[in-house]
Symmetry: C2
Subunit: 380 residues, 2 copies
């Protein structure tokens, strides 16, 4: 493809793969797209190791990094001691989470110990941790750096300019897109409400043209990537007909051979229809879209406690879900019923396990089919 964005970033096909799995990142980059390594919750040391591995496997081809960097490098409440954070989690919530496991005949194990472990990661998303991760990222030959929450901090933007690295930001409304463009962001990712993970309510179909128009109205020339629900090349072509410069996908990589997704969840995703996701607060405290399972149903059901504000709900859900993942892989039917992960409505289009490289190839072919459909409609 010969689009401006492809030329700018040195890629062949403007398909961006958000993944926490370095193998997926390298495979997509090597197949002509751009892998973007999701490094949130990772220590600077781990990040260094992962990016070095990627460097060794992409032969100089461009890839990106996605971080969660708190605005102004200030993590709210960073001085609250661990014990105090743990004490803020109500017993009723902990007990409810454990009861969901017990109701399926599972031994919850020591969830408190797992809660304690989770807190280790607070350091990584603190001001200093985030800053160190950013410095690690810029020591590698990255072509793009993305921030998932809010306007990237001034430091990220400055470091991006200084290193000639494009800075991208995710938005769920046209209003946020305008704020990001005004702040100097180079690439906007317009993420529709059908996306997996934290998501808003405006659909990709509407959000993409609205954001594109909104940026044009500012007199700015900032490319927009479409995200949310996209799992095929024809959808990518559709988004680009609406003005997007490419597609940003996360869910579609979860069922690839390379992905470290729980194999039980992989199978569930391949079997799921688009109706099998739910946007719920029960995982992190903020609305995020997940695969429907016994776990999400229990939290949506009568008698379930109201999810706690972020980050407390994570201390309730993640330890229990880690235990569920573990037990599900031993063949336990109850645990398999409860197992879930973040995924978008595009899961309904994910029906075949493939390698990440094969997914990129399928996107390219299906993109052409999408284009040819329009050609045929116009020319008969």
């Amino acid at each position: 493809m010969k689009s401006d964005l492809c030329k700018q970033l040195g890629i062949e096909f403007p398909l961006f793969a958000f993944s926490h799995c370095r193998d997926v990142v390298a495979a997509v980059t090597n197949a002509g797209g751009m892998g973007v390594f999701g490094a949130a919750m990772m220590s600077p040391e781990q990040l260094e190791e992962e990016l070095s591995w990627i460097d060794d496997h992409v032969d100089g081809r461009p890839y990106g990094v996605d971080l969660i960097v708190p605005n102004k490098f200030e993590a709210k409440g960073q001085d609250i001691p661990d014990e105090q954070i743990l004490a803020m989690v109500p017993e009723g919530h902990k007990e409810f989470a454990a009861s969901v496991l017990r109701d399926k005949g599972l031994d919850p194990g020591d969830l408190d110990a797992r809660r304690q472990e989770l807190l280790v990661f607070r350091d990584n998303i603190s001001a200093d941790g985030a800053r160190r991760s950013l410095e690690v990222a810029f020591r590698h030959p990255i072509a793009l750096i993305a921030n998932a929450l809010g306007v990237p901090p001034a430091d990220m933007l400055e470091m991006g300019k200084a290193h000639g690295v494009a800075v991208a930001a995710l938005v769920g409304t046209a209003q946020h897109a305008r704020a990001q463009v005004a702040a100097g962001v180079d690439i906007i990712v317009a993420a529709g409400g059908e996306a997996g993970g934290h998501t808003g309510e405006i659909s990709t179909m509407v959000l993409v043209p609205e954001v594109v128009q909104s940026i044009a109205d500012m007199g700015a020339d900032v490319p927009v990537l479409a995200a949310g629900g996209i799992a095929s090349g024809a959808q990518m072509a559709g988004a680009m007909a609406m003005g997007a410069a490419g597609a940003w996908c996360g869910s579609v990589w979860l069922t690839t051979a390379e992905a470290e997704t729980n194999p039980v969840v992989k199978e569930k995703m391949l079997a799921a229809s688009s109706a099998d996701t739910v946007r719920a607060r029960s995982r992190t405290g903020k609305p995020s879209r997940q695969l429907v399972s016994g776990w999400t149903e229990a939290w949506e059901g009568k008698g379930a406690p109201k999810p706690l504000p972020m980050p407390l709900q994570t201390l309730v859900s993640e330890p229990a879900l880690a235990r569920i993942d573990q037990l599900s892989q031993t063949g336990d039917a109850g645990a398999q019923e409860l197992a879930t992960y973040w995924v978008g409505q595009g899961v309904g289009l994910m029906t075949q396990a493939m390698s990440a490289g094969a997914v990129v190839q399928a996107f390219k072919e299906d993109f052409l089919r999408g284009y040819e459909r329009l050609q045929a409609a116009l020319e008969g």
Copy 2:
């Protein structure tokens, strides 16, 4: 355009305009698309009058009719007398609706009298009324008949075949699409959750390719129209790249010069962003997407009663909303704040009042722009 569907229906451009306004229907048909007259809640006598008017204004060009025909021609509970239906509406709900008006300094007027009037329409959607409407529709030279709720009854399908009229049905899931195709429906309208009015939760971006694939997997060859959030030709091109045979739009006509939309609501729609809609049960008892207003906010707020099941909630909301519409047009600021109507997220893309014919023309031009974007991306 030279697509199969265009040839089959004798239209130039596969843009379908659902509207309760005959002027919009005629204008779209005359501009090369297909107007589809929404005739639900209309008596057979009224329908006869409206369709005759359309016949006189389209010079033989094809148009369609959309009815709500109860399955198997049995309206559940049709023998319940009016007084008994009215008595089923709790005082608390009636009082809450009136209080929303009073809180804005409005005199609710005689809402009970309006409730009584609404019941007159029960006849029209009863088994006999629906059957008579269907007979009226087939006496006119219609090219398409659509049913909005569930699988069209066998009679509608048989009459469609006998008259050579395509039968269309709206669906919100791939599962429903398969059931409709199995029943013999000729055209599927895949309506995403961003659509105005009654709507599901799966987005257009995902639903369209999922339904297209699902029908192909059945070995069937049934065209799919994309609905939900579409207010521009580039989005229509996007949907067709994903496999749709055309677009079915409702919201985009509400702000046209011809539409009978309350002018106050028209202005609000032109100013609204895609974030200004809400999918709520407060209008009919089932989730339907509407423009956010003081009315919808009151029903979403604390202390609001839980919406009643269909059709009881309509007896609470419609009389109050009719009063609000009336008062808003006298310039009352409180009534203007409360005024609302069904509309999809595409409202964020509706920024200019145009004639319906000009909207069709703008769609055609923007469709080409969408196609050319893909061409430019591929060829540089």
